[in-house]
Amino acid sequence: MKYLFTLLLLIILCTKTFAADSTAVSIIKISGTIKGEDNKPVNGANLVLEGTIDGATSDEKGVFEFETEKTGTYKLIVTAVDYSTHTQEVNLEAGLNITLDIKLKKNITTTEQILVTASSFTSGENSKVTLTPLEIVRIPGANADLYRALTTFPGSNQVNEGSRITVRGGDPDEVITILDQATLYNPFIFDDSYNTSSFSTVNPWSLKGINFTSGGFSAKYGNALSAVLDLRSYDMPTTTGMFAVVGVGSAGLSGVYLSKNSKFGGTFSLSQSYLKPFFDLNGIAADYSKVPEANGIGGTLAYKFGTTGNMKLYANYSGDKIGIRNASPSYDGFFNSQSDNYFANYKISFAPSPASILSASTSLSLYNRKLNYGVLDTRTKDYYGKGRVDYTQPISQKTNLNAGVEYEYLENQVSGTVPAFSYNLRPNALAYNIDSSANSGRIGAFVETEMRLTDKFFAITGFRSDYHTLSKKISFDPRLSMGYEIAQFNVIRAAVGMYHQYATPQNYLRANNDDLVAEEAIHYILGYEFNVAGDIVFRVEGYYKDYKNLVAQDPNDFKYKSTGSGSAKGIDVFLKYKWQNKFTGWISYAYSDSKRKQLDATTQVPSDYDITHNMSFTGSYNVTDAINVGITYRLSTGKPYTPVTSSIFDPVQNVYAPIYAERNSDRFPTYTQVDARFQYITSLFHKFCVVFVAFNNIFDQKNLYQYNYNFDYTSKTEVPSLNKRIVYFGIGLQL
């Protein structure tokens, strides 16, 4: 027992002795300065000797000083907000003071802007985004329409002032819209109706992220020649509530629900147009058989499972009905159209391992349309189905691997009567009865790596391949995108890649078996961007696109063949400035020269949407926290069109047949428009309320998109856009 106590005493004494020893050394002073790579002092940097709490914080001159009693070799750790951690060994010897001059490097996360690929405009949570949902709904003249908002960015243009867009001289069908992996085949109402602007069915408020890429896009996207609009909706509603909007022409009601445990959520939206008060206020610009109608209903159901899983069902219906008078040379009557569009998508995603993501989706669409104008009387049914799986896996700290596979099915059915001669549309004109059906399948797969080669240089290399059942051919698309940060806020980007898009099943009906291969484009892009946290953005980008295998009509047998070709080149310039929370504005300018030998063109001529100069300015100013005013100005070269040079009388049909000049050999006059928007936020019944007034085409500019010819084509009359000066107002109220 005595032995035991003796030892315990010894232990306690030893412990005390060790403690005493560690305090018996002399004090060493460590001092110096901390600077950034720009040689400016870093304020608030923290220094500490590893494993101790001995250290200091640098002052505004970057100067630090501290004392320690430790000796030996220690690791000095230096940290500062926005900078990478710096470590270095210091040898502490009694009696020797140390002076250090330390340089810190900017944190890698602050250089995220270089990861934005060329030609991209993004929206979402990233601080470098170029467009936010709030900015979209506030853009004057855009009428809270995502697509119209995009046309204020360089490279994209509106079609007939509607929601369909064309990009860098390409066809509208060469722009694909993706929502949560599914392709939205026709997200428009009043689409392709005579002299009528279309509207998008996509609600910008439902979107968590928007990525619009006008060229050089990733290998993730197939069957698109010009551009991609990739939209991500919220996986789960973030709150519970309802919102109603009532305007002079339409009303909408939307709601979101989130369960108490945040595992289950749902949304719904309803919209209905009633244009009579709108026409009463602004006048009727056209002769309608009845007031045009449009409505929509949609919603989502979402469920979270496990720690990372989410499943979501999205369904939407939209419909429209219009009858608008059109005086063509052979027939003066109403162009009647009615369409119904159904869409559903089921998506599931989860993380099989901590850093990987697996997403899979399946979607179905049905588009029904009835068209009637004189002898033309058709019923169209388009079925679309798509299944897709995407997988993302980091393979190192600096490299991500993305891979995916998709299958797409299209079926197009057309029945009814179509005129035998396009120049004779009279109800009793010679016509064909048609009842055709065509379908196609496409399977595609891609793999790509996102590599951050250094802190300042990234590259995305990708490859995709697609097989199409009608062409019976496989396409191969290698793609490369790079970004290099030449200095803080300054990035150079480049992209080159091959892109394919297959002709529609209807085009295959006009071709011999296997004659149509995928249309092909090679994109070359080089650009520079100056971006300070998305508040100041300046971007200039040059591009060249080389097309081949475009669908073109053989003048001998009038069959479609892959003999077309073309090119597009241009420069896009974009400047955005955001001043605190007061002002946001941007100016876009695009120069484009796009030529194609396509469809009935016999040589390379300006493409249908070749807009040489296109400029727009958008500004939004918060007068107070509650009042916002905005203005948009657009100016662009007129769209090309094919004029009629003369006509010959067809005695059998008893009608004149036009003789056209070379395709797209003339242009409509310069397009210009000024729009303004006023918004006031207040409370009504203690609920959030927003009142808005929109003035479109303030100066009542008569923009032309069409000429109507008389019966023998000897004179023509201008058909101005129906978007004359209008006032639109409404109120939104949280319920």
Partner: protein
């Protein structure tokens, strides 16, 4: 047998001594850092707050209760961001708000049931309105999520009502804010502060004086000067060195009293 017993005792004694010493080192360091933090808060001095932040950061080296140290670091970041707001330096607000949110994320990953972390998250999320108003929708959602979590974890946390009160105080009446709605929140906060019996000195204890200060500001706004004076005095009893009370609140009181 004796030798074995001796060895076991030796190990227990040595191990216990090490653990207790580490706990003691951590507690001492945190208490000291909290004292310096309070001094910086009382003076509204950004330089001192930056120093205080560094002190907390060095405590991370002890690798003890890292979730708590990260909480204090985020609290420092919040205060530095607030200085940025007063100086209208949006870059600073953004930088430190984001840093604070990142630290809180680390803190809540390690310990997800610490209500004060979510209360602080509410404050930091509110800061985002200063520099990214255009993401209003997602900010409101993030605030709501933090608020629900904080309340669920500890419905008696006085700082929850203080932070909610401050947000209501600075929100215009038209948007569901104003002093009339903020006042009961500060009163509730003060009531709950009175019920706290905090024995662990390392845990957060800030806010009681501020609750009185904001209650006084509500009374001042409503023209109830005697009530304001009472609230102000009670706050000063709790923290006589608070420059928020002696400077900002007192100034508002004096101007109203003129």
């Amino acid at each position: 047998m004796k030798k074995t017993l001796l060895l076991v005792l030796l190990l227990i004694t040595f191990g216990l001594n090490t653990v207790l010493k580490a706990d003691d080192d951590f507690s001492k360091a945190i208490v000291k850092a909290k004292k310096n933090f309070k001094s910086a808060m009382d003076k509204y001095d950004e330089k001192e707050m930056v120093k205080s932040r560094g002190e907390f950061e060095r405590i991370l080296q002890l690798k003890k209760n890292v979730w708590l140290v990260n909480y204090y670091l985020a609290l420092c970041d919040y205060n530095i961001a607030t200085s940025g707001m007063l100086a209208k330096d949006n870059d600073k607000v953004k930088k430190y708000t984001q840093s604070g949110l990142d630290l809180l994320e680390k803190s809540t990953i390690e310990r997800d049931n610490f209500a004060d972390a979510y209360v602080l998250k509410m404050s930091l999320e509110y800061n985002r309105f200063q520099y990214e108003m255009d993401k209003m929708q997602s900010i409101i959602a993030d605030v709501q999520t933090a608020e629900e979590t904080a309340k669920k974890l500890d419905p008696t946390n006085p700082r929850f009502y203080l932070v909610k009160g401050i947000a209501t105080f600075y929100t215009p009446a038209a948007f569901g804010g104003g002093t009339d709605l903020a006042q009961p929140l500060f009163e509730k906060s003060i009531e709950l502060f009175g019920l706290i019996k905090n024995t662990d000195e390392t845990l957060p204890d800030w806010g009681n004086d501020a609750a009185y200060g904001y209650l006084a500001l509500c009374h001042i706004d409503q023209g109830k000067l005697p009530e304001a004076k009472t609230a102000m005095d009670k706050g000063l009893v709790i923290n006589p060195t608070s420059s928020f009370l002696t400077g900002y609140v007192k100034k508002a009181y004096d101007e109203k009293a003129k």
